[in-house]
Amino acid sequence: KSEDSGSDGTGAPASAAAQVAQSAAPGAATCTIDQYGGTKIDLKTAKVGFSQSEKEANPFRIAETQSIKDEAAKLGITQLTTTNANSQFNKQISDVEQMIDSGVQLLVIAPLNSDGWDSVFAKASAKKIPIVTIDRKINATACKDYLTFIGSDFAEQGKRAADEMAKAMGNKGKVAILLGAPGNNVTTLRTSGFKDEIGKVAPDIKIVFEQTGNFAREDGQKVTEQLLQSNPDINGIYGENDEMALGAITALKGAGKKAGDVKVVSIDGTKGAVQAIVDGWANAVIESNPRFGPLSFATAQKFFGGEPVGQDIIIQDRQYDSSNAKADLGSAY
């Protein structure tokens, strides 16, 4: 019997708040089956492979995998194989290669890393298997190495976080960054995006501290505790994901701060974080929508149907702040 029997966190239906692609700029590069090569097939009967990068042990990954499975079920796709690399890149590579060997006709990949896919592309393009990469972009040429990328613009997320932070801090003060796992592309982009924007819109905001919290709540808390010690006068904390921000909030409480003393902005849009806005501890959360199922398969269907599909499908991420947090809590994941 769990503490809060009944209203358990395990996910609003994945259909909730499905992704919406940004209206692609006119003349944005597209890709057709003739350009890419391959044969038109019916998705329902096709063998589809999905390679997940990390354990389904955090809200984002759970929602992501779930959404793929649910959508496949909805479309009546029977032959869906999913693998999980448990955060081991080499495993993801061999997972995908194995699926190619077993003759999948469509690959949906949530890459653990943006580089290092040469061997996979070599294998896939030999068999003309379209690859849809989701949530993380792969550094290669769309419509050649892979079909298309569907996901958020991480730099853009960082940028929007910066705007919110600037707004919350009144364009001045000292801010600290809780970095994601080192070496991770998401970390890199969310950092650069944030820094550049702060530099532009609020030069009076000093970034005095950046330490990694490995995208984990405990680390976020520990680092913040140390931070509050050495820089008691910090005004804002930017968490590159919600988990670290929530850890930071626990640390703030522990240090006897009041809600709002230190502004907190983070990225992802998990229930906990949006709830924190409602409680007044967090100021804004930029969403990074994990529900890739519908858009991915829709794109694939268009592609196999011969229609052109965008090479770079950036989804619209919403954002939560005090104005909408309470109302939209349900659509958080």
């Binding site: 389904e56 194989t81 890149f89 997972d95 890393n113 580089d115 896919w117 040469d118 061997s119 070496g183």
Partner: protein, 337 residues
């Protein structure tokens, strides 16, 4: 039983001893090749159960994926037979990859030289500290694990900079194949054979066993214990670096988010292969079987498909325990006889 034994005469006793010795040998071989036996069983089952497993491509994929772990486990086998352990291989593997990718801009040779030199040197440091200061291998190589990862981050802008492989010949080595089997597999195979010869057919190899069997005795018998120790850690370092390099060639870049837990996989493979962590006994054939076994199991879990990633871990853990326990019983069986 007891009554029959009671009537036994010395002569009968000798005969009995003879018989027991024969069973000894048989059990002995099973024990030594236990991993191989399990591997064969598993493969046969999956050949029957999974059509996709049968394909040549799938086999090739398994082998290619197994090549780097194989090199690492090869070095680890030597280290463990001397009674040591090397926790730094995971970090050296990543470091090697990054260095190779970075150095590839200076040509094919450089792409190999850079990782081999650096990882070799770290191996020297490990070995020297362990051999000359009598610090515990576990802790020395644990420090090396941290240090090497730090170094890797330092040269890759905290891991955010991924160097792309510039040299095509080097890339080719990663993705080209001979007789449909990736080059790196052939490379690993050659090194494994060399390793076998080195371990079982040379003085160095026998000294390795001697050091693991009893360090003091070995020293008194005139084995250059310290040089042997340094030697095995250098080998382990070099092989880990090489593994990183060929992996970088395959991935076409120096990926920085690799290799965590790699050392434990290698140790597991070696132990499954029947090598004693206490040192003094072990075979490379066993290690090969151990590595392939882990690879095949991974592949099977995927064949089954849609196994929850968390269950996958539980299964691997249980399987590991199973194999090792089975093996220990075979060894015991042998002792008691």
């Amino acid at each position: 039983m007891s009554t029959e034994v009671a009537r036994e005469t010395p002569a009968a006793a000798v005969e009995d001893a003879r018989r027991a010795e024969r069973t000894d040998r048989i059990v002995g071989t099973i024990q030594r090749q236990g991993a191989l036996a399990v591997l064969i069983v598993v493969v046969v089952i999956s050949l029957i159960a999974f059509p996709n497993f049968r394909s040549f491509d799938n086999t090739a994929t398994i082998l290619v994926a197994a090549a780097p772990p194989m090199l690492i486990a090869l070095g680890m086998t030597f280290v463990i037979i001397t009674g040591g352990i090397d926790l730094s291989v995971g970090s050296l593997y990543v470091l090697g990859g990054v260095l190779a990718a970075w150095a590839s801009q200076y040509g094919f040779a450089a792409a190999f030289a850079a990782p081999l030199v650096v990882c070799g040197l770290i191996g020297v440091v490990n070995g020297a500290l362990i051999a000359y200061t009598r610090m515990a291998p576990f802790i020395v190589t644990l420090a090396a694990l941290l240090g090497a990862r730090g170094l890797m981050r330092a040269i890759s802008d905290e891991g955010s900079e991924t160097y792309l492989v510039k040299n095509d010949a080097f890339k080719q080595l990663g993705n080209g194949s001979f007789l449909g089997i990736g080059y790196q597999v052939w490379l690993a195979a050659v090194l494994v054979v060399l390793g076998m010869v080195l371990l079982s057919r040379t003085r160095f190899g026998h000294s390795v066993y001697a050091v693991g069997g009893s360090e003091d005795a070995a020293a008194l018998m005139g084995v250059p214990v310290r040089r042997i120790k340094v030697g095995v850690y250098v080998m382990s370092g070099l092989l880990a670096g090489l593994a990183g390099a060929i992996n970088a060639a395959k991935l076409g870049s120096g990926v920085t988010v690799l290799g965590t837990g790699m050392e434990l996989d290698a140790i597991a493979a070696v132990v499954i292969g029947g090598t004693l962590l206490t040192g003094g006994a072990g075979t490379i054939a066993g290690t090969v079987a151990g590595v392939l076994l882990l690879g095949v199991i991974q592949n099977l879990i995927n064949q089954v498909g849609n196994v929850n990633s968390n269950w996958q871990q539980v299964i691997s853990g249980a399987f590991l325990a199973l194999v090792v326990v089975a093996q220990t019983y075979l060894v015991k069986l042998r002792r008691v006889n």
